[in-house]
C-alpha cells in the first residue's frame, strides 16, 4: 500500500467514524426541564433520531437535570424508530437517569417490543388479549 493509499484509507475511516458518532440528545436543552411535550418529541424523532439510527449512529439520551418524564413522552420519542426496526432498540442508550426515569424508559421500551401490547396490536383481537389478561 502506497503512502497515498494509506492516507486515503485513514481519511475514509475517520470520516466513517465521524458519520457514525453517537448522537447525544440532551433532553433539558431540547425539551426543557419537564420534558413532556409529545408533539415536539415526535417531530424531533422524525427529523433527527430516525435518520441518525438509519445511518448506523448510536443514540444517547441524556436525562441530566430533568424532572418527571412520562412513558408517553418516551414512546413519542423512540417508538417510530423501534417499530421500524426492533434492532434500533439496542442502539438507544440513556445517561444520567434517576431510578424512576430509568423505570419509565424501560416500561416504554418493553411495551414497544412486546407483541402482546404493541407491534401486532392491530391484528390481535381484543378477545384474545382480554382472555390473557383475565387469566
Amino acid at each position: 500500500m502506497t503512502k497515498d493509499e494509506k492516507l486515503s484509507s485513514w481519511i475514509e475511516r475517520l470520516l466513517l467514524a465521524y458519520a457514525r458518532r453517537p448522537l447525544t440528545i440532551p433532553l433539558r436543552r431540547r425539551f426543557g426541564d419537564q420534558p413532556n411535550d409529545r408533539d415536539q418529541a415526535e417531530d424531533f424523532a422524525k427529523r433527527k433520531l430516525l435518520p441518525a439510527l438509519e445511518k448506523g449512529r448510536l443514540i444517547l439520551i441524556d436525562f441530566r437535570d430533568t424532572g418527571m418524564v412520562t412513558q408517553s413522552f418516551i414512546h413519542a420519542l423512540i417508538s417510530e424508530a423501534v417499530k421500524s426496526d426492533s434492532r434500533h432498540a439496542a442502539k438507544i442508550q440513556t445517561a444520567n437517569t434517576t431510578r424512576a426515569q430509568q423505570a419509565v424508559f424501560d416500561l416504554a421500551l418493553r411495551h414497544m417490543l412486546d407483541p402482546a401490547t404493541n407491534r401486532v396490536r392491530g391484528q390481535q383481537s381484543l378477545q384474545t388479549q382480554g382472555k390473557a389478561i383475565e387469566a
Binding site: R38, D39, T70, A100, H111, N118
Partner: protein
C-alpha cells in the same frame, strides 16, 4: 274538584288554578299552595319538578355516581331549545369531583348556547364561587374576596396545550403543598397522563377541566379532571368495534395497550390509564373513572362498577384520591408499578 278537567289541560281544584305544564317537558306540574295538596304531592315531588336540574345536597367523590344519576344533566338537549336551570339551592357540600362535573356541564352548555347557563340558588360566597365556577358558566366572576393559596385548594383550571398542562401541574402541586419528592413525582405523573389523555382522545369543547384540594384532616389529596368529549366507548370503538357498552369499555381501557394508537394525534402506547390507576391504588388511594352511564371505582383490593341512572356523561371524569403520607415509599412503589405493567 272538577273531575272532568283531568287529563286535558291544566288541573283545576275548586276555583283555584294550581297546575301548569312544565316548560321543558310539557308534563303537568302541580304548583300547589294549599298545604294539604302539598302534603299529598310530596311523595311524587321529585318526579314532578322537571323545571330544573337539582344538584344534590352533597355532591362529591363519595356519591359521584348517585349524584350524577340524580342530577339528570340534559347533555343531549343542549342546543335544542330551552335548557333547565341548574338548581344549586340545596347543595351544602361539594368537592373537586362534583365541581369539575358541574363546571364541565355548565361550560359545555354556555359555549354551545352562546349564553350563560341559568343558575338557581347561586351563593356568591360558596365553594363553587371560590373555585371560579361562575366564569365557566358564562357569567362574570363575583367571588367577594381574594383567592388565597393557603386555602389548599386550586381554582378550576382549563387545560388545552402542553404549556398549560405543565403550568397547571406545577400550580396544583404547589397549592396542595406537596413537597415530598416522591409524592410530587407520582402525583405529577398521574396528572400529566390524565390531562394528556383528554388532549389525545377527547376533542372536548371544554378541553380538560382540573381542580384539586388537599384535605388536612384526612391527609388526602383529591384531584379531579373532567371533559365532555367523545368518551371512552367511542374512542375504543375506533379500533375495537366489538366493545358493546360503557362497562366493557371501562374494563378494557385499563388493560395495557388496548387504547393505544387510537389517538387523534399521532401514536400512543395506551398505558396512561393503566399506569395512573395502578399508581393511585398501589399508594392506598382510590381511582374513579366515569364515562357514559357507568362509573368504575378502584382501590387496592376492589373494583366496583356503578350505573349512573338517568345521566349519560358524554366524556370522561377521572377522580384520584391519594393519601398524602410522606413516610410511604413513593419512589419504590413507582418503580414497582413500572416494572409490573
Amino acid at each position: 274538584m272538577d273531575q272532568s278537567s283531568r287529563g286535558a289541560g291544566p288541573v283545576v281544584y275548586g276555583s283555584k288554578h294550581v297546575a301548569a305544564p312544565c316548560r321543558s317537558c310539557a308534563a303537568v306540574r302541580p304548583q300547589t299552595y294549599l298545604t294539604s295538596l302539598a302534603r299529598y304531592y310530596e311523595p311524587y315531588r321529585d318526579s314532578m319538578t322537571h323545571g330544573s336540574c337539582r344538584v344534590p345536597t352533597n355532591f362529591g367523590y363519595m356519591n359521584l355516581a348517585g349524584g350524577l344519576g340524580e342530577l339528570r344533566l340534559p347533555f343531549d338537549r343542549i342546543g335544542k331549545g330551552d335548557i333547565e336551570p341548574l338548581d344549586l339551592s340545596h347543595m351544602k357540600f361539594c368537592d373537586p369531583a362534583g365541581t369539575v362535573a358541574l363546571s364541565a356541564y355548565a361550560a359545555t352548555a354556555a359555549r354551545k348556547l352562546k349564553r350563560p347557563l341559568p343558575l338557581q340558588g347561586w351563593d356568591s360566597g360558596s365553594y363553587l364561587s371560590r373555585v371560579g365556577f361562575k366564569s365557566l358558566a358564562g357569567y362574570r366572576d363575583d367571588f367577594p374576596r381574594t383567592r388565597l393559596d393557603s386555602d389548599r385548594l386550586t381554582s378550576l383550571i382549563e387545560v388545552a396545550t402542553a404549556k398549560e398542562r405543565q403550568s397547571a401541574r406545577k400550580d396544583v402541586l404547589n397549592v396542595l403543598g406537596v413537597h415530598h419528592v416522591g409524592a410530587r413525582m407520582v402525583l405529577d405523573y398521574c396528572l400529566e397522563e390524565m390531562l394528556r389523555n383528554v388532549e389525545d382522545h377527547a376533542d372536548s369543547p371544554v378541553n380538560a377541566l382540573l381542580q384539586a384540594q388537599y384535605y388536612d384532616n384526612r391527609k388526602q389529596v383529591v384531584m379531579a379532571i373532567a371533559d365532555t368529549g367523545y368518551g371512552i366507548l367511542h374512542s375504543l370503538r375506533q379500533r375495537h368495534q366489538s366493545i358493546a357498552d360503557d362497562e366493557e369499555a371501562l374494563k378494557n381501557a385499563l388493560k395495557a395497550g388496548v387504547s393505544g394508537r387510537n389517538t387523534r394525534k399521532g401514536t400512543n402506547a395506551g398505558l396512561g390509564l393503566t399506569v395512573s390507576s395502578s399508581l393511585v391504588t398501589k399508594m392506598g388511594g382510590t381511582f374513579q373513572l366515569v364515562t357514559g352511564d357507568t362509573m368504575l371505582e378502584m382501590t387496592k383490593t376492589t373494583q366496583t362498577m356503578r350505573k349512573l341512572g338517568q345521566t349519560r356523561w358524554p366524556g370522561v371524569i377521572v377522580v384520584m384520591l391519594v393519601p398524602r403520607n410522606d413516610s410511604l415509599d413513593w419512589e419504590g412503589t413507582f418503580e414497582e408499578v413500572m416494572g409490573a405493567i
